[in-house]
């Protein structure tokens, strides 16, 4: 089992193999994401009971929470890919990191927007400087920074390493940001209902959330692989196997 994983890891490091192997995975990711998201949305929007405090507006949570999870885990993945690039010098790690960044940024954006939509009926305002929203905003800037750095630097190897370095430094800083923003918010927080309290959720509310989170991850797998494969084709455009592939199309 271990050996199989190791060979898989090495195979994925070669652009050609990566392309072939992930091609087989794509339909699975697509199907499972459709299934899970569909199930989660139907159960969450139609069948879950109304929250006694917030009424129906809490249902936005079914998009907000998975998006927030993903926003944070995608950054971790990007940083991990950065480590793989800098330490083991695997170029495919950079392809994956490049594919991840915009997706993470979009997830953060969705989480911010849905957070604001959730905030309106709950707090009466579109934006509130609460600890979580502010941390998300800072995370959004981190993503934008990585994407902007990649655009700005050339040649590609230099941009790859610089973005990897930035992602790693960012990961070290994320706990610091979280702690300081949390502390800042509790210091300044006016007396109002805190959204951080999660009352115990009945299974009928919790289950759709689980489906949505898994569905989002499946969606992530599908979109990252799609983007990474496109990037592989672009980078290896001059090599023989890509030319063959495009000839057949």
């Amino acid at each position: 089992m271990w050996n199989w994983l190791k060979t898989l890891y090495h195979r994925l490091g070669s652009p050609k193999w990566f392309y072939q192997i992930t091609g087989k995975w794509l339909p699975w990711f697509a199907m499972s994401s459709l299934l899970l998201l569909g199930l989660g949305l139907v159960l969450g929007l139609a069948y879950a009971p109304m929250d006694y405090q917030q009424g129906n507006s809490f249902r936005i949570m079914y998009i907000h929470v998975p998006a927030a999870f993903l926003a944070q885990s995608v950054y971790m993945m990007m940083a991990a890919a950065g480590v793989v690039l800098l330490v083991w010098k695997m170029k495919m790690a950079d392809v994956v990191a490049q594919a991840l960044a915009p997706i993470g940024a979009i997830m953060t954006f969705i989480s911010l927007v849905t957070g604001a939509i959730w905030g309106m009926p709950t707090w009466g305002t579109w934006w509130m400087w609460d600890a979580r929203l502010t941390s998300m905003l800072i995370l959004f800037f981190l993503y934008l920074g990585v994407m902007a750095l990649r655009e700005a630097l050339s040649p590609q190897e230099v941009a790859a390493k610089a973005c990897a370095l930035l992602a790693i430094v960012g990961v070290i800083n994320i706990p610091i940001i979280k702690y300081s923003v949390d502390w800042w918010y509790t210091l300044h927080q006016p007396a109002s209902i805190k959204l951080t309290e999660k009352p115990a959720m009945p299974a009928s509310m919790y289950l759709p959330l689980l489906f949505m989170v898994l569905g989002f991850y499946a969606l992530l797998g599908w979109s990252v692989l799609l983007r990474a494969r496109a990037e592989v084709l672009r980078r290896e455009a001059k090599s023989g196997w890509v030319r063959e592939l495009l000839k057949d199309k």
């Binding site: 010098k89 050339s154 040649p155 190897e157 980078r235 001059k238």
Partner: protein, 196 residues
């Protein structure tokens, strides 16, 4: 590989003590890139570099302490005087002798200019400050990229002399240059061709 372009294919050579190696080739053939690669400024994706019989990754520090690189840019701070610039290079080698630095500067024809800020000097004079390092250094391997830029004929001849003396003393030099250097004894050449 650089920006998806293959720079060198099937390139290999040895450099022994006392040898002078000149990298030749048309513009864009990669002479500067090869030199920077050897100096560790440019990472390379395939191949190996050996220093004193060992793979360079195991003895990197040793290599850098024995190597002196002067690139296309002089590496001289314009706000500092030649003497102050030389102070820094001397500090890197543990040399504290002030009088020596003065002597080095007068040798390269900058006597009287020691304390002027370098932005007041001409390009040739700045190049001389950079090359003054060569007269005081103890390091054995010299990697020089276009060392003769902006120098007049006598200066070029003097630098060539310096290179010969260095190689005779057991040091090694790799340089790129557009000047003709045929007269130098022990000069080897490596020609880099056009990349198709």
């Amino acid at each position: 590989m650089r920006d998806e372009r293959l720079l060198f294919d099937d390139l290999s050579f040895h450099l022994h003590a006392g040898e002078l190696l000149q990298l030749e080739g048309p513009n864009g053939a990669g002479k500067t890139s090869l030199l920077r690669l050897l100096a560790g400024l440019l990472p390379f994706s395939e191949g190996e570099l050996f220093w004193q019989g060992q793979n360079i990754n195991t003895c990197r520090d040793n290599f850098y302490q024995s190597m002196l690189f002067i690139g296309h840019l002089a590496g001289i701070k314009a706000e500092l005087s030649p003497l102050e610039n030389l102070h820094w290079f001397a500090a890197l080698e543990g040399i504290k002798d002030e009088a020596l630095l003065d002597k080095a500067l007068s040798q390269v024809g900058l006597a009287g200019y020691e304390d002027q800020p370098c932005h007041q000097l001409s390009a040739g004079q700045k190049r001389r400050v950079a090359l003054a390092r060569l007269t005081i250094t103890q390091r054995s391997v010299w990697l020089l990229d276009e060392p003769f830029t902006a120098l007049d004929k006598t200066a070029v001849a003097s630098v060539e002399n310096l290179l010969i003396k260095h190689s005779q003393a057991g040091g090694a030099v790799i340089l790129t240059s557009h000047h003709a250097l045929e007269e130098l004894p022990g000069l080897k050449k490596l020609t880099l061709g056009e990349v198709t």
